[in-house]
């Protein structure tokens, strides 16, 4: 298909968003190591091209569901870095008032229906959101991001069936990063995940998830198909988890081992951020321009951390008002 290439402005924008995700998480990594964060963080480092390439195709009113590894989706869909950082620090200025933390960052005003601590928890929520969009006849679509491990949950098949039957405006994006916690996907995944979608007559594409342009192109088609009312699409983006399943993974592994350092190094060479950067340079973008972006993002991250640190801790009593609308718990 003659899918257009992104313009150089678009490519720059993609780069900047990917870099924002990368730098935010590098900082989270440092703060996790320093013991500054109350809960666990699951980092998206190495997978930035997927959320960025897909969300670049979405409108603010479109909706996404995310996973336990959700910082990238949150930021790619336009979530506020400061509000996210404050949330992960457990502060009342956090996007979820400190009640959700890293695994639950959400901004409904931007269509971010939330990261999710339940593997596979997003499928049905995204399917329901797509159903509502269809019924309200606006042009909103829904996107479900999920991992290769989540594709083994039966609810995946249920959503394939329902969304295909009802021609829902849904895009299913499988981020195949080779692992489910410490288990190689091959050990727990029979056949090709894409074939599962094909069995339900859903248009499917498998792309290099470390190539933001490839993702951007596949997503463009899927999103347009959804907007035209032609039903769901499935995208499998092949990628690799560079960091541990969660930070401080070694504490859990206690010397156990599930992959080779060399493998990680191999994948570092395909770093999606670096790849756009090279592409930009070779397509004539100036070092200065990129430096300026780096600087801008560095400042954003700094501000986010300062904001989080300066904020007050969560208000425990608020929990009693947050269980129900207009009803005390």
């Amino acid at each position: 298909m003659a899918t257009p290439e992104p313009s150089s402005e678009q490519l720059l924008a993609l780069y900047e968003r990917m870099l924002l995700i990368r730098r935010m998480e590098e900082r989270l990594r440092a703060d996790a190591a320093a013991g500054n964060l109350p809960g666990a963080v699951h980092l998206y480092i190495g997978q930035e091209a997927i959320a960025t390439g897909v969300c670049a195709r979405l409108r603010e009113t479109d909706m996404i569901t995310s996973t336990h590894r959700g910082h990238g989706h949150f930021l790619a869909k336009g979530g506020d870095p400061q509000a996210m950082m404050a949330e992960i620090w457990g502060k009342r200025t956090g996007i979820c008032k400190g009640m959700g933390g890293s695994m639950h960052v959400a901004d409904f005003s931007k269509g971010i229906l939330g990261a999710n601590g339940i593997v596979g928890g997003g499928f049905a929520i995204a399917t329901g959101a797509a159903l509502a969009s269809k019924l309200t006849h606006d042009e909103r679509i829904a996107v479900a991001f999920f991992g290769d491990g989540a594709a083994n949950q039966g609810v995946f098949m249920e959503s394939l069936n329902v969304s295909s039957l009802w021609k829902l405006p849904l895009v299913l994006v499988c981020e195949h990063n080779q692992f489910s916690e410490f288990t190689p996907s091959a050990d727990i995944t029979s056949g090709e995940i894409a074939d599962r979608a094909r069995a339900f007559k859903i248009p499917t594409s498998v792309v290099d998830g470390n190539d933001v342009v490839a993702v951007w192109q596949a997503a463009g088609e899927a999103v347009e198909r959804a907007r035209r009312g032609e039903g769901p699409s499935f995208i499998e983006a092949k990628t690799y988890r560079i960091q541990g399943h969660l930070e401080a993974e070694d504490l859990f592994l206690q010397g156990g081992k599930y992959r080779e350092k060399a493998e990680i190094e191999e994948w570092r060479k395909r770093d999606p951020v670096e790849r756009v950067r090279q592409r930009l340079l070779s397509s004539g973008a100036s070092e200065e321009k990129l430096k300026a972006i780096d600087a801008r993002i560095g400042a954003t991250v700094e501000r986010a951390v300062e904001f989080a640190q300066a904020s007050e801790v969560a208000d425990p009593e608020l929990a009693f008002d947050l269980m129900f609308v207009g009803q005390k718990a």
Binding site: G117, I125, T127, S133, V155, V325
Partner: protein, 323 residues
């Protein structure tokens, strides 16, 4: 006022609320031809966009409700039997009941889930559970227990108009029973118990399907000179603790009747509330008349042995009335 069947009252509430608000949708397995009766005629009135037969996939039916509600629909999901709540329990317990808090109050979930509970029809263990205690423990979902056609209509309207996930538990054995239902548009507030019968000697707190045998028991007790007060909590979440405590104080003798299995039942919780908040006024042990800790047998005689009836309730009440 007009006499209507319980199922009919539910059907009316659905029709009226769907006419009132185009955002209300109803889906579930075989809602079109209304396998449970209560969704009859909706398809002809509102069409296939808003009334949807779904595949058999309860885990997705409950989760879809969360997404559809978040995206602007008022969702009514019909789960058929309350045992199937267990099949769709993940999205109920991990999403529906928690998403609002986890998102700092961003998620608004106008969801009503209808499910029929209880025994009496020899449907056996997988179709006879009273699966609401597990919902009550979740914290994040309301639980309505209509005992009469009027309550069924009024509570369902409140559920559908509300902005919180609510389980509307249909008493399976009551579907065909008649009762007076107010005319026109009316709702019944959550968290307000009803004193169905006045009495000074003993208080019978009867949940949902148990109201009828409780009233029969009250009659029997009257014959033996015991005046029983009968109170119906109507919703378990929110729970009208004030009214229940007041009722307990009035007589000092309380029997709680629940068609759920005894352990960690709603009856247990109500008894616990009373021994905490009405202790000084209690004159006798708070008794629970519940289904024993077994699952429902198939044979009619075995089923009868397990489900609380007027005799068991009356016997228990007279024990403590004279204690």
């Amino acid at each position: 006022m007009a006499r209507k069947r319980y199922t009919h009252a539910i059907n009316e509430a659905l029709i009226e609320e769907m006419s009132r608000d185009p955002k209300v949708i109803v889906y579930g397995e075989d809602v079109e031809l209304a396998i449970m009766g209560d969704t009859k005629g909706l398809l002809d009135k509102f069409g296939r966009e808003r009334i949807r037969n779904t595949p058999i996939c309860e885990a997705t039916l409950t989760g879809m409700a969360v997404g559809a509600a978040a995206a602007g629909c008022r969702v009514v999901v019909h789960m058929m039997f309350s045992n199937f709540i267990y099949t769709g329990f993940d999205a109920i317990a991990n999403q529906m009941a928690k998403l609002r808090l986890m998102t700092g109050g961003q998620a608004v979930m106008p969801i009503t889930i209808i499910a029929a509970y209880g025994g009496g029809g020899s449907n056996a263990a997988q179709h006879s559970d009273s699966g609401y205690p597990v919902l009550v423990n979740l914290g994040g979902v309301n639980v309505a227990m209509p005992a009469t056609p009027a309550d069924a209509k009024g509570l369902l309207k409140t559920a559908i108009r509300g902005n919180n996930p609510t389980f509307f538990m249909e008493a399976i054995g009551r579907g065909g029973e008649q009762g007076e239902v107010p005319d026109g548009d009316f709702t019944i507030p959550f968290g307000k118990a009803a004193t169905v019968r006045e009495g000074k000697d003993v208080t019978i707190i009867a949940i949902g399907s148990m109201l009828k045998p409780a009233l029969e028991a009250a009659k029997k007790l009257e014959a033996s000179g015991i005046q029983a007060e009968v109170v119906d909590p109507r919703t378990l979440v929110p729970l009208d603790e004030e009214a229940l405590v007041a009722a307990a104080r009035k007589t000092g003798r309380v029997v709680v009747v629940d068609e759920a299995r005894d352990r960690c039942s709603a009856a247990s919780h109500i008894a616990a509330v009373l021994v905490d908040k009405a202790f000084k006024h209690l004159k006798a042990p708070v008794k629970r008349v519940t289904v024993p800790n077994v699952c429902m047998p198939y044979a009619p005689n075995a089923e009868r042995r397990m489900i609380p009836d007027a005799d068991r309730i009356a016997r228990t009440a007279s024990e403590i009335a004279s204690a």
